[in-house]
Symmetry: C3
Subunit: 475 residues, 3 copies
C-alpha cells in the first residue's frame, strides 16, 4: 500500500509543481486587468468600455448583459453539478453495507478531487482539442493556463452561444468529468481494492472520458457523421452511458460480492445499510441535475432554460412513479430503492433530449425509463452481474434508451447517428474499463482478499469504522 501512496505523491507533486512555477505569478500580478473589461463605478471607464462594445459588436450592452447573466448561471450550474457528487456519495453509501461505508465515502472524496485536478492537467484539452493528433478521434493540448488572459475580450471566448469565460467553461466541464468514475464506484463497491480503484479512476477520468467526449462535444467524428450529427444534449450517452458501461467492464473482471449468488441459481439480497442516506442522495442528484441539464444550455437563454427544467423534472417524476408501480406489481411491495432508481432512470433518460422534447414526451421518456430500470436491475441479477447500487441499469441502460429515443421522436435527429454514437460511447467505455481492469488485476490485484471482504473494507483498508460510537448513548 505504502508503495503506491509514494507513487501517487510523486505524481501529484509533479503535477502541481512542474506546471506551477510559470503560473505562480498571479493573474493581475504584473499588469492591471485588461482595459475595458472589468466593470468599475467610474463613469468614464464605463463609457469607454461601452464605446468599445459598440464599435466592436455593433450594439453591445444587450450582448454584454446577456453574457454576464449567462456566465453567472454557468458557475452556479457548476456548483450544482458539484453537489451531485455528494448525492452519489450518500446514495452509494446508503445502498451498501455499513462495514464498507468509510471506503465508499473515501472513494467519493477522491473521485471529485482527482477528477478536477486531472481535468485541468490534461482532460480539458483532450475533451476540446485545439489540434487533433488523430483527426476527429484524439487530440491533446496540455494543462490549462490562465483562461482569462488568453482569451482576451470577455466574451471573445465563446460568444453568446457558449456564453461564458474560459474558466466558466472549464469548471462546469470539470464537474462533469468525475461523474463517469463515480458511476463506476457504486457498481464496484464492497470488494474493489482501494489503490487499484484509484489508478482506475485516474485513467478513466484523465484520459478515457475526455477522449470519448471529444468525438461529440469536442467536434470529433460523431459531430460529423454522414447520417447527421449525433445529438446528446447533456450526456445520456457521453456521460451516463459511458459511466454505466465502464462499470459493466469493471464488474465483469471483478466478480460478484461473496455470498451474493448461491449455488443452484439462488440469490441472496444484500440490502444497503442506510436508506435515509440513499434518499438524501437521490434528492441531491435530482437537484444537481437541474444544473447538469440546465447548465448544458450553455447560456441563460430563457426559453431553453424553462423547457429544460420542466422536461427534467417531469421525466424524473414519471420515472419514480413508473418504478414504484412496476416494482409493486413485480415484487408485490412498493420498493423504496426501486423508486429511488426510478427517479435516476428518468433523469438519465431525459438528459440526451431535455432541450429537444416537450413536457409530455419527457413524461413518456421517464415512464419507459422507470419501467426498464426495474427489469434491468432484476435482469442483471439473474445473469449474476453484481451491481450493488444498480448503476449499470440506471446509467448504462437508461442512457442508451434516452439517447436512442430522441432519434425516433425528433425528425431533426438521425436515429442511425444516435445508434452509432451510443455504441461508440458505451462500447469504448466497456472495452477501456475491461482492459484496464484486467491489467490492474494482473499487475497489482483488482480485488481485496476474501478475509478483507468479510471483515469489511473500512477496517481492512482504512482502519476506521463509519459509526464507531453507535449505541453508546452515554459513557
Amino acid at each position: 500500500m505504502k508503495q503506491w501512496s509514494k507513487y501517487f505523491f510523486m505524481i501529484s507533486a509533479i503535477l502541481a509543481l512542474a506546471v506551477a512555477p510559470g503560473e505562480l505569478t498571479p493573474l493581475y500580478g504584473e499588469e492591471a486587468p485588461p482595459e475595458g473589461v472589468a466593470p468599475s463605478d467610474d463613469d468614464e471607464a464605463f463609457k469607454a468600455e461601452y464605446e468599445v462594445m459598440v464599435a466592436e459588436h455593433g450594439f453591445h450592452a444587450y450582448a454584454f448583459d446577456f453574457f454576464v447573466t449567462s456566465m453567472l448561471w454557468t458557475v452556479i450550474a457548476a456548483g450544482l453539478v458539484f453537489l451531485m457528487h455528494l448525492g452519489f456519495a450518500t446514495l452509494e453509501t446508503g445502498l451498501t453495507r455499513q462495514k464498507n461505508a468509510v471506503n465508499v465515502l473515501f472513494k467519493n472524496v477522491f473521485i471529485i478531487s482527482i477528477g478536477i485536478l486531472t481535468y485541468a492537467a490534461c482532460g480539458f484539452y483532450i475533451h476540446y482539442p485545439g489540434d487533433w493528433l488523430i483527426p476527429s478521434v484524439f487530440g491533446f493540448g496540455g494543462p490549462i493556463g490562465d483562461l482569462n488572459l488568453t482569451e482576451g475580450f470577455t466574451f471573445g471566448y465563446g460568444g453568446l452561444e457558449l456564453a461564458m469565460t474560459g474558466y466558466g467553461d472549464f469548471i462546469f466541464q470539470a464537474m462533469f468529468a468525475a461523474t463517469a468514475a463515480t458511476i463506476v464506484s457504486g457498481a464496484v463497491a464492497e470488494r474493489i481494492k482501494l489503490s487499484s480503484f484509484m489508478v482506475f479512476t485516474l485513467l478513466l477520468v484523465a484520459l478515457a472520458y475526455p477522449l470519448a467526449g471529444s468525438w461529440h462535444w469536442g467536434g470529433g467524428f460523431l459531430a460529423e457523421l454522414p447520417t447527421g450529427a449525433f445529438y446528446d444534449f447533456a450526456g445520456s450517452s457521453a456521460v451516463h452511458g459511458f459511466g454505466g458501461f465502464a462499470a459493466l467492464g469493471a464488474v465483469i473482471v471483478l466478480g460478484a460480492r461473496r455470498g451474493k449468488y448461491l449455488r443452484g441459481g439462488k440469490m441472496r439480497p444484500i440490502p444497503g445499510h442506510n436508506l435515509p442516506l440513499a434518499t438524501i442522495g437521490v434528492f441531491l442528484l435530482w437537484f444537481g441535475w437541474f444544473g447538469f441539464n440546465g447548465g448544458s444550455v450553455l447560456s441563460a437563454e430563457p426559453q431553453a432554460l424553462g423547457q429544460v427544467f420542466t422536461t427534467t423534472a417531469m421525466s424524473a417524476s414519471m420515472g419514480a412513479i413508473a418504478a414504484m408501480l412496476t416494482s409493486w406489481i413485480l415484487l408485490k411491495k412498493p420498493d423504496i430503492t426501486m423508486a429511488l432508481n426510478g427517479v435516476l432512470a428518468g433523469l438519465v433518460g431525459i438528459t440526451a433530449g431535455a432541450d429537444a422534447v416537450g413536457p409530455w414526451a419527457a413524461v413518456f421518456i421517464g415512464l419507459v425509463s422507470g419501467v426498464i430500470v426495474v427489469f434491468a436491475i432484476i435482469g442483471f441479477d439473474k445473469v449474476r452481474i453484481d451491481d450493488p447500487v444498480g448503476a449499470i441499469s440506471v446509467h448504462g441502460v437508461c442512457g442508451i434508451w434516452g439517447t436512442v429515443i430522441i432519434g425516433v421522436l425528433s425528425p431533426e435527429i438521425s436515429f442511425v447517428s444516435q445508434v452509432i454514437g451510443t455504441v461508440a460511447f458505451c462500447g469504448f467505455a466497456f472495452v477501456f474499463a475491461l482492459v484496464l481492469a484486467l491489467a490492474l488485476k494482473v499487475l497489482i490485484g483488482f480485488r481485496v482478499s476474501e478475509e478483507e471482504e468479510d471483515e469489511g473494507l473500512d477496517l481492512s483498508e482504512h482502519g476506521q469504522e463509519a459509526y464507531p460510537d453507535f449505541g453508546k448513548v452515554t459513557g
Copy 2:
C-alpha cells in the same frame, strides 16, 4: 394492494400517453426556433432582434436583460423549492420512529413526483384559469402544452412583473404544489395506509390546492374582495395554512398513534429516531425558503430581493431563539425539536408579508411565531390531536398568524380581508381533507391495522428496513 397499483398504473399510463401523442413532436422538430428569439452569436440576427425590441417596446435591451436575469432566478428558485422536499423528507423521517422511516421516505418521493405530474396534467390551469367555470371560484383548462411556442415573443408571457417564460412560471409553481401534501404527510405519519395516502395526496394536490389557490393568485374572489384584495405574498395561508389544516382534517379522521395517549389523561412522548436527520431537514427547508419567498418576487427586482432574503432570515432566526427560550422555560430544558420547529414557525410566519415589512417587524413576527408554536404543539397534545412532527402547529397556526398580522402592521392591507382569506384557505382545506379522509376510510380504509402499526409500516407496507445492516461492523 395490487389492485390499487393497477389503477394507479392505468391512470398514469393514460395521463402520459393520452396527452403525449400530440406532443411527441419535439419543440423545434419541424421548424426552426422562432426568429429573433433565441440568442445566437450572429451579429445580424442580434441586430434584427434588437430592432424588433425597440420597435415593439420602445427601448428594449434593458427590458430584455432584466427579463433574462429574472427568468434565471425563477428556475433557480424552483430548484430551491424542490430541495425543500428533501428538507421535508428528512425532517419527517428524523422525527418519526425507525420502524416507519422507509414509509416516510417513500411517501415523500411519491409526493413530489405526483405533485409535478398532476400540476402539469390539470393543476396549473386550475390554479390560473383562463376561463372560470364558476366565476371567481373554479376554472379548468386542461393539461399544459408547449409553454414556449404558445406564448410567442419571449417576454410576451408575463412582461416584467411576471418576468419568466411559461415554463418558468409552470415549474416554479409546480414545486410549490406538492408542499401542501407533504405537510399532511408528516402529521399522518406512522399509521396511515399507504394506498389511501397516495389517493389522498393525488386529489389534494391535483384539485384542492390549485382550486383554492385560484381564489387569490389566480385572480379569483379573494383578489376582488370589497374590503380590499387579500394579501399573501408567498403563501402563509395559501400554502402553509392550507397544508396545516388539511393535516388537521386528516388527523381527526385518522386518530392518534397507538400508545400515544394513555388513560387518565396521561401522554407518552414518542421521540423521533434521528435528530441529526431532522436538523438537516430544517436547515434545508430554511435554505429552500429563500427560493420559496425570494422566487415569489417573480422577477430579479433588486430591492425586493434583498428585502425578502433579509426578512425571511431574521424571522427564522428570531423564531428559533424564541422557541428555544420558551421551551427552556416551559420544559426546563432547551429542546432541539422545539428549536427546529421555531425556525420553521418563523419561516411560515414571514411568508405572507416578506416583501411588505421591514427587518424588525420580521423579528417581531418571528418572535411571536416561535412562542406560539411551542404552546400550539403542547396544546394539540393536550386535546389529543396526535401530530408526530408538529406540522399543524407550524404550518397551520403560524400560517394564520403570519397572514393576519400583516393586516395589522400594514396600513395598505385590510385586516378584514386577511381574516376572510385565512378562513377561506384553512376552512376549505380542513373540510376537503375531512370529507376525503372519511370517504377513503369507508371505501378502502384510511389506517393500517393494529398489527401493522405495531410492526411498523416499513415491514408491513414495504417489506424493507431503513437500516437493515446496522451494528454489523464486520461480517
Copy 3:
C-alpha cells in the same frame, strides 16, 4: 439554567420590541415605492426610468442590468453561505460522540440564528462603521434600519463595485458573521457548558468579529498600512484565522475532554460517531464555499467569477489528495477524516487569494494546506490541545498560511502587511476568547461537571437523545 434563559428572553424581547415600533410601518406602507426604481411592465414608467438613468449615469441600461445580475448573485451567494452552517452542523456532529450530538446540533441552530440577529442589531455598523469612535479601530452605528429607503436610487448604494442593495450587502455579510462562532463550536464540543457557550457566541459574533473585521473590510487601519493595504479576499484571516484562534483561546481555558490524554504521554483517540454525516458536512461546506468566495467578488463580474470558482475547486481538490497521501504515509492507512480536513484546509487556504492567483498557484496553496493540516492536527494532539474536529488546524493554521503566502506569490501584495494583518486578526481573536472564557469560567462556569460530561451533554443539558429509537426495527 432557568435564570440564564430569562436573561436571554429579556434581551431578545428588548432587541425585538425596542427597535421594532418605528419599523412596524412596512416598507411601502405610506408611500408608493420610489419612482423610477421598481420595474413595471408599463412602458411609460420604464421610459421615464430609463431617461433618469441616462441623465444621471450617462449610459445606463448596461449598468442597471449588470447591477441586477450582480445583486441576484449576492443573495444566492448569501444562501450558499447559509448552507455552510448546515455543513458545519453535520461535520461537527459527525466528528463527535453520539452522546453529545443533540448538543452540537442545538448549538449550531443557535449560532446561525443569534449571528444574524446580532449582526442586524449592532454587528453590521460595527463592521462597516459610518463614524469611528476610535479612529480606524472601532466604530458603532446602531441597528440596521430600512436599507432600501435610506439608500435612495437602486444602485446608489455601492455602485458597480459593490453591486448590491443595502439589504443584499447586509444579508451576505450576516451569513459570514456566525462562521467565526461555529468554528469555535467544533473545537469546544463535548464539554462546554451550554449557557456559557451561548454567551460566548453572542459576544464573539456581536462584537469581536465585526470589530476586527472593520480593521480591514470596514476601511480601518489594516486598509491603510504604510506597507500597503492588507489583502484578504474572502477572509482566510478575517474569518477563518479569527475563528480558529478564538477556538484556541477557548480550548486552552476549557481543557481536554476527559479520558483523551492519559498518563505517561499516551493519547486515546476519540473517534466521531457518524462519518457519513461528517462527509455530508464537508461536501456542503465545499458547495457553500463557492458562495463564500464567489460572492466576495461583490458583483457578477464574469472573469473574476470564473477564476474564483476554479481556484477554489482546485485548491480544495489538491488539499484532499495531499491530506490523503500525507495521512497514508504517516498513519499507514488512508484516513477519511484527514481527507475531509484536507478539503477544508484547501478551501481555507485559497480564501485569501482566490481572485489573485491562477489555477496552478491554487493547486500549490492547496497542496501545502493539505500537508500542514495533517501535521497540525497531530501536533496539537502532541501538546495536548484537544480539538475534536481539528478546527484550530483547519481554520487557524491554514488561515495563516493562505493569507501570508499571497504576500509571497503576488508582487502587488505586501508580505509585511500580510503578516501584520494575520497577527492582528489571530492575536485579537485569541486574546478576546481567552479573556472572555476566563471571565465566564469565574462568573458562571465554562465547563460541565465530570458527571455531566460522562453522561453526555444530550441527556444532561437537553434531556434528549439523538437516536432514541435506534435498533427498534419493530414494536
